[in-house]
Symmetry: C2
């Protein structure tokens, strides 16, 4: 993309510009900035991006971006027109429609009824539109939820670990303490969470919430059993713990699905963090929070937690772009609110990619070879990610060797452990690769793993 | 807007729903939530909204929303198409264009070059595109700026007071202490800021930044003189204070304009907070930060403050919707980046509204009457707002009487004073009223003011 006009000569180069404005001693010292910009996760993610740029011919199992092959740019216009027609059909004048697109609009969003209706149809979740806040992607929903429920330094939020970097980032931004509850190799155990809650209480802290991706988790790919879901709800009720449920991959995964925590929730324990990034398109940047918990003040006046989230949203982004909301609403209207149905083809695509990846691993590492090498992986039935355990330290140095010498890129799992861990695991993402790439990529990964094992054996 | 399908019966009514999910003792107590949701500004704003809803026939000088009469819904499609054509003309394939609209995109934004070029043309501000971060409205830019520069409890941000509620909200969200530097009746004085900085230093606090709207301020309508601008830059350099310059009304105000602080800045003192809400349309929710300050770490590695803001943005909203960015970019492209020229008609409209309002006040309160009553107002030459001093307490009770008995609504100025003050002033917004409304509205306001003065005299 180039300038449309030469105009005045622009600052020649960034390097020169930077040198010009350096002050004696530097205008700003990095250590004077907020600690969140020094979060090591930022540097590791930058490292991963650099590796990806430096080895463009490598096959990358790193990015968690959705597949866009079924998407057509024209759909954006179709979706927005569909919403405008819906507004007109519902008796809005041209001036009202102009207002709906042009002006700021309500803080909690314009398309809450459509979202509530789709939640009923797709997820058997029955909540009033008033309990929904439309957000700028799920990330903003996380920020609003964490900000609302953490009021002091004694408050702590627990997370299932390894965990999505978005929740870690939101917590760092707000100076909120996170405590990791580590998954076992077969997934989350409720008893581990209860131990962690008790330990926090014993330290004088107040556990406020537990963040979890129950289905096809990012990064590990694990899915929580139905039994664990019921246990978790029971535990949440007992400890007055809010469950922050984030489940972006369900409706783009082959079913059948277990019920969401929110659909099983009878006590207002679950705050659902919603995303349309995988089901509509990420560029819309539309997500939502469902917060139907009742909040009571001193005087006994009650309202919904969603009202409080909307207040906070007015301090973060004022409101979600009506343009983006129109695109999402148009897709919901065009599909009659059945997001799962509308994504059947996409879900099948991801399902095939996941199965192929697992098949290729099975073929490359037959049972005896697997045992001899100490390599194993889980077998998610949906989502974008699986985890491979390897018998060597899967750090940035190993990643650099893998990219340079073997032409294959993956994500070190230790990026996703807030309290450390995951040094011997890698995350493979299957969402953006063709069948050919998967086949060739797993072949390369196999050669890399065998070379690492061989090198370790030689040193010993 | 109604549901597209009856589906399962939805939760009958919000009231019933709320009662169902109330727990013994309440699931969440408001006092356990973060303090920002109890900010009194929230309640006052709600009160203002309620008044507006309760008296729909009243003429309202309250909303600061831009006039949308020159906007056509179809422009959205034209703008987006214009940007897509620009991408194609610059050698992007259909797949690359699809990717640009569909996927997440770069955290710092896709349209930084276009913004940099328009800043050069409209504002004589010459910064590299790398120093720009595209944000979800100016509000997110405020959050990013405050978060970056405040690292500890000893840090403090100063604000010109009365001040925009957006900056107060962003500070409350992040638990950041604000210190108000009160404007004089003729506007901001640099000596007052310096006194405040010295007082903070004496208390052991570290003044990090000063937030100011130099042109046609919201809420007071004052504009900082050229002399004050130079003094402020000099003071900022001396105290290593970052100036957060927010100037959303300049390019929709009749010129000529004084130079922005940023265009006078030779030392990297100014972080510009930009908005397209008034110049393009609020529904796009696109703003930006210009942060070309150099940041140096322990090891002497340097980068731009914009890079740090982008890291923080990844924790707040991940990125700004490419769809919204496309709409703004299309308008920039269509106007050759000359936002001021493109808004000439809008600026004339607001200019006329401001002059009419002042003329009506002049006519209704001739000089002798003005003095006798103790009523006076400022005469901004642009922007959306002016301030009227009244000889009675302009609080919510007065506002309710004004709306109910006289059919005119305004905003109490005390809403905008973080440390108290403004009890005898009201804000009038002229941006959304017709000439007829202004004439009738000022007539009603006059009757209200005279009645209040009379009532006060009767009591005494």
């Amino acid at each position: 993309m180039s300038d449309y006009s030469p105009g005045r000569p622009s600052a020649t180069s960034l390097g020169d510009y930077a040198r010009q404005s350096v002050q004696p001693g530097g205008w700003l010292r990095k250590e004077d900035l907020h600690a969140c910009v020094r979060d090591p996760v930022m540097d590791t993610m930058n490292f991963l991006n650099e590796i990806t740029v430096r080895y463009p011919a490598a096959i990358s199992f790193a990015p968690g971006r959705p597949y866009d092959g079924f998407f057509d740019t024209e759909q954006i216009f179709t979706y927005i027109r569909c919403y405008l027609e819906h507004l007109a059909a519902n008796g809005n004048s041209a001036a009202q429609i102009r207002d709906a697109m042009f002006q700021y609009g309500p803080t909690a969003g314009r398309i809450r009824q459509l979202i509530a209706a789709s939640l009923r149809q797709d997820e058997n979740i029955d909540v009033p539109p008033e309990s929904i806040v439309v957000t700028v992607g799920c990330q903003e929903a996380m920020v609003l939820a964490l900000r609302a429920i953490v009021s002091g330094r004694e408050d702590v939020v627990l997370v299932s670990s390894p965990c999505y970097v978005g929740i870690t980032g939101a917590a760092r931004l707000l100076d909120i303490a996170l405590t990791a509850v580590e998954e076992r190799e077969d997934g989350f155990r409720c008893a581990d969470l209860e131990d962690a809650v008790r330990a926090e209480l014993a330290r004088g802290r107040r556990p406020r919430a537990f963040y979890v991706v129950p289905d096809h988790s990012n990064p590990s790919g694990t899915t929580m059993s139905l039994g664990a879901r019921h246990q978790l709800l029971e535990l949440a009720g007992r400890h007055h713990l809010l469950l922050l449920e984030d489940s972006p991959y369900r409706l783009v995964s082959p079913g059948p699905h277990l019920p969401t925590l929110k659909s099983l929730d009878r006590q207002g324990a679950v705050l659902l963090l919603g995303s349309f990034s995988k089901t509509v398109f990420p560029g819309a940047r539309v997500g939502f929070a469902v917060a139907d918990q009742v909040v009571a003040d001193h005087a006994g006046r009650t309202g919904l937690l969603a009202d409080e989230l909307a207040k906070i949203k007015s301090m973060v982004t004022v409101n979600t772009s009506p343009l983006s909301q129109a695109a999402v609403a148009g897709m919901l209207l065009a599909s009659g609110g059945r997001i799962a149905e509308c994504n059947a083809k996409t879900a099948a695509y991801y399902g095939n990619a996941m199965r192929s990846t697992i098949n290729q691993l099975d073929q490359r590492f037959p049972a005896d070879r697997r045992t001899a090498l100490g390599v194993r992986w889980n077998e998610p039935n949906g989502g974008f990610f699986l985890t491979v355990r390897v018998p060597f330290r899967a750090d940035n140095a190993a990643l650099a060797r893998s990219a340079e010498e073997f032409g294959v890129i993956w994500t070190p799992m230790y990026y996703f452990y807030p309290d450390g861990g995951g040094d011997y695991s890698i995350r493979l993402s299957i969402s953006y690769l063709t069948q050919e790439d998967i086949e060739e990529g797993i072949a390369r990964l196999t050669r890399f793993i065998e070379a690492e094992v061989h090198a370790a054996a030689t040193i010993q």
